[in-house]
């Protein structure tokens, strides 16, 4: 079997440019002021996503990937570098970017269809059109029949699907997901991953997924960006050359295993750096008392 190709990135700026990239993240630097001094969460990170592409960003805890998510989504400001959508510079939440959050984010006071119709309501769509469109997306995520139910009556996985449908209903050019399945068990994750693949393939949705789960990243992505522990930089980009359309069955293939192994070897180094750093911090905190 052929060796799995990858691209090694130097620590420094590099644009993997496609002429028609729809999302360009260019040389982002984001620092925070903490009681212990200045913390660099994201250190000169660049990447780009082509239309219809599914890019996964993976890294150890504390690598700044959630910061990156918030920066691209426009929820954080005060950073260096630019985020461009279809060539236009973006600063702040943009209708072309849809965000799906890690935590439980359905509106508990609205039922499923009202949740999903939310962005359409905001956009001022008339009632019947709103509900027609919302129903389409409810069906897309596989929750038809549940339109009138309330989030409290649904399982965690179903609620995340509602959040997904809600974001998709706004038909964003780019879908930004921050560990959307973090609170779910492994099997639900795999099955929801299937759902996401299905939807993405059907809509040709450009997606950027932030995750710490290697299986998930390889299962869903066309390309995986591996980040270092903070200060977060791009360590490696791995092209995932697995056939499309895919299903969760792919996780049992050899090629899949090799991709996972390769990414893990990169990640393990960063993760153990993170662990050591964490331990020494806790030690110092204990000593201070």
């Amino acid at each position: 079997m052929a060796a799995v190709p990858s691209e090694r990135i130097d620590a420094g700026t590099l644009k993997v440019a496609s002429a028609n990239a729809i999302l360009t993240v260019d040389d982002i630097v984001k620092r925070f002021e903490t009681p212990d001094g200045v913390l660099t969460a994201v250190d000169h990170v660049s990447l780009s996503v082509a239309p219809g592409e599914f890019v996964g960003v993976i890294g150890p805890s504390g690598c700044g990937k959630s910061t990156l998510f918030n920066v691209i989504g426009g929820l954080l400001d005060g950073y260096d570098g630019t985020v461009k959508v279809a060539g236009e510079r973006v600063r702040g939440p943009h209708p072309a970017i849809g965000m799906i959050f890690q935590e439980e984010s359905t509106f508990p006071w609205r039922n499923v269809i009202d949740n999903v119709a939310f962005p359409l309501e905001i956009a001022g769509l008339p009632r019947s059109e709103r509900y027609d469109r919302a129903r389409h997306f409810v069906k897309l995520v596989g929750l038809d029949g549940f339109e009138r139910r309330y989030p409290a009556e649904l399982s965690g996985g179903m609620r995340q699907r509602v959040s997904m449908a809600r974001t998709l209903a706004a038909q964003p050019k780019i879908l930004l997901m921050d560990e959307p399945f973090a609170s779910l068990d492994e099997q639900t994750r795999l099955l929801l991953g299937d759902k996401v693949l299905q939807i993405q393939q059907q809509l040709k949705q450009t997606t950027l997924l932030i995750t710490h789960n290697i299986t998930e990243a390889v299962q869903l992505s066309d390309r995986v960006v591996v980040m270092t522990y903070r200060p977060g930089k791009v360590k490696r980009m791995v092209e995932i050359r697995l056939p499309r359309p895919r299903t969760s069955e792919i996780v049992s293939s050899e090629a899949f295993g090799r991709y996972v192994a390769q990414i893990w070897s990169d990640l393990r180094e960063e993760a153990s750096r993170g662990l050591d750093d964490e331990e020494s911090r806790k030690l110092h905190e204990g000593e201070k008392r």
Binding site: V29, K30, R31, F32, E33, T34, V38, G78, Y79
Partner: protein, 266 residues
Amino acid sequence: MAETGRLRLPAARPLGLPLRPVTALRIAIIVAVVVIWEAVSASGWLYRDVVPSLVAIGKALYATLSDPTFYFHLGTTAYEIGIAMVIGGLSGLAVGILLGGSKFMSRAYEAYLYYLGPCPKIIFFPIMIMWFGVGPGSKVAMGAISCFFPVALNVAGGMREIDKVLIRVGKSFRANTWQMVTKIYLPAMRHPVINGARLGLGVALIGTLLAETKLSNRGIGFLVIQAYSIFNMPQMYALLIILFVIAIGANTLIGRVGGLDDIKRS
């Protein structure tokens, strides 16, 4: 150069004044209230001296606090409330433990407490007078029934919140009832008990004082009504101020002692 963001909101920063903005605003509000009050008072706009000058109130305050008979009345009220809290509190505690500890008892009787709780207890006063006379007895009774309900309900709820495993530990060591109560239930229920006591104090205070305003010849409530009847407004304000300071202080004290937020109503 990258801008730096802040991870946390900064604590109130000095504006270049020697004061923090919060303190400055508080002072501004107080000053505004004082100015408006004095203006209304001086203008005579509200009839019959309803808004006396702060100076007059201050004088009345001083006069009251230096009057020995005031302390007699204060003592009477305090004594009434104290006994009311002991009676109401202890019986509330006992009933609460009983109801909270047994699902059966709770389903049989707790509803009565729950629905009687929000009734205004002052309406029972005529009965209390018949049973306990026109003296302190009826006032204590009012305070006690007022205090009983919040304590009982809070304790019952608190009992149910106790981690069941702690109760099993006690039973496994074969603790008797008294030991269970003092060594397990009460320590585990510290928060609900303190909260119940706070609420109980609040309503006992109200119950006793209202009873005093209605029918009494001693106590703070009596003094307030007396001031009303002779239309001594500065005196009434002075008494109310003293009363509120004591009530809020006692509430805060119980909270501090019990280690909770400063002032909670419910």
